[in-house]
Symmetry: C2
Subunit: 270 residues, 2 copies
């Protein structure tokens, strides 16, 4: 049997009881470690689960899938993913590859930023399309996500912005070499995301401005969770500390209950 | 300390390890039982947790909040909710009421249909606003949700339709009496929801028709989970069995990976 198990928001104890039982009895357990950053570290997971985990990087998940599926018809094999199993296309694809091989699959769901984001006080059903903000480079500054934020806002919907993370990205120089070298892992902060948004706004002034409300979230679900509500311009200088960060651009009109809840994260009267 | 703990999709073992530890050590634990239907029953939860739960119905949650908060400054009190704590306005409100009383709060996240719906193969970030389809009566047939489905579709987004549940609804006759009587609990099936949608379409023909693709989901995350993909018209006759049901109206254009995944739930070539 092949299992994909969501381990939730990152604390070892965020796994469900069902998930933990499966992890303990599996023959092999992989930890998918490139679509998200595991804030607690592999070791603390291994300590808590009482077993070894096999780190599955991008190459293994995308190119050496066969290795993961070895004997999965007769043995129990699990892949652990941060958040929920269906949070990233990668995992949906992994399930399809298992089905092709006629390996029975089971999914264990968990919380992900896609539903936990509602802890900022915005109603989850009023979120529109989720967008991703990628790191810009000197020569590559895509901004198509900005139009989606505006569309959501136009429909009275909030936008969750997932911020770029770079784990095991090959360096440009090493791409042509046999031995890959990797850039140090990095993650986009709410300040960096807001700076990129401010740069887009500078060139396309309109409904969204530096004075618009933004909500920054860090380490959602952890004891050190931080949420701040301020203007987008102010957010460019906010330091929310360690990863992962997410940014929310709320709709223009908020429900009174939303305002009351968000007020606790703002130093100013909303 | 006041805890709101998501118990996930309904199986007793869907609670997280963190949540279970808190449940075991709390002085009082309430089970919120009106914004969702607990498919496994209170008793099997009590058996698994090894403790008694206090059933908190609508009246207690909305009108007798004081009772829940008694001694919560010095004792540990938890409210368990199906799904994630921020899935319903009710729970957000409960947190605000706790903060008013200066009672420290902690939230334990979990999966909810709002993120687990992606198990049908549609990418979660491509969902638009979530809508609720209420039970119609002879005299009350609201259809404002229909416009939102069309708007989502127009933007290339999927729509998750949450289907009505009625738990401890006072009967009309008893509303004027001292002693309330309650209607038997009921839940809307994907067939009933599709029938109501077909009736709206009959009066407002347009982009959505009986031939449009619909996806019906039942008991997501359970061993008995069922998913079916067919036309909306066909869905009016589909029986997916026991609750809870959800209906998804996909965007017109699907990603090839979405099509490949949904194909397994359809008897016809998509």
């Amino acid at each position: 049997m092949f299992f994909i198990i969501g381990i939730g928001l990152g604390d070892p104890k965020d796994i469900t009881v069902k998930g933990l039982e499966i992890v303990k009895r599996c023959d092999r357990v992989y930890l998918e470690a490139y679509t998200s950053i595991l804030s607690c570290g592999q070791e603390s997971l291994e300590d808590f689960y009482g077993r070894k985990l096999i780190l599955a990087d991008r190459e293994m998940i995308e190119q050496h899938t066969d290795e993961i599926f070895v004997d999965a018809e007769v043995k129990d094999v699990a892949v652990l993913v941060v958040g929920d199993p269906f949070g990233a296309t990668t995992h949906t694809d992994l399930m399809l590859r298992a089905k092709e091989r006629e390996i029975p699959c089971q999914v264990v769901h968990n919380a992900s930023i896609m539903n936990a984001v509602a802890c900022c006080g915005l109603q989850l059903y009023s979120f529109g399309e989720t967008i991703s903000i990628p790191y810009w480079t000197e020569t590559w500054k895509p901004d198509s996500f900005f139009g989606k934020i505006l569309k959501n806002r136009h429909m009275g919907l909030h936008t969750l912005c997932l911020l770029d993370i770079r784990v095991r990205e090959p360096t440009l120089e090493s791409l042509t070499r046999k031995t890959r070298q990797y850039e140090p892992p990095r993650f986009m902060s709410v300040a960096e995301a807001s700076q990129q948004l401010m740069e887009i706004i500078k060139n396309t002034p309109g409904e969204l401005s530096g004075d618009s409300l933004a909500i920054g979230l860090a380490r959602v679900g952890h004891d050190s969770q931080k949420i701040i509500a301020c203007s987008l311009k102010e957010m460019t200088e906010v330091d929310l500390g360690a990863p992962l960060h997410s940014l929310v651009i709320p709709a223009k009109e908020l429900h009174p209950l939303e305002v009351e809840f968000i007020q606790q994260f703002s130093s100013r009267k909303l």
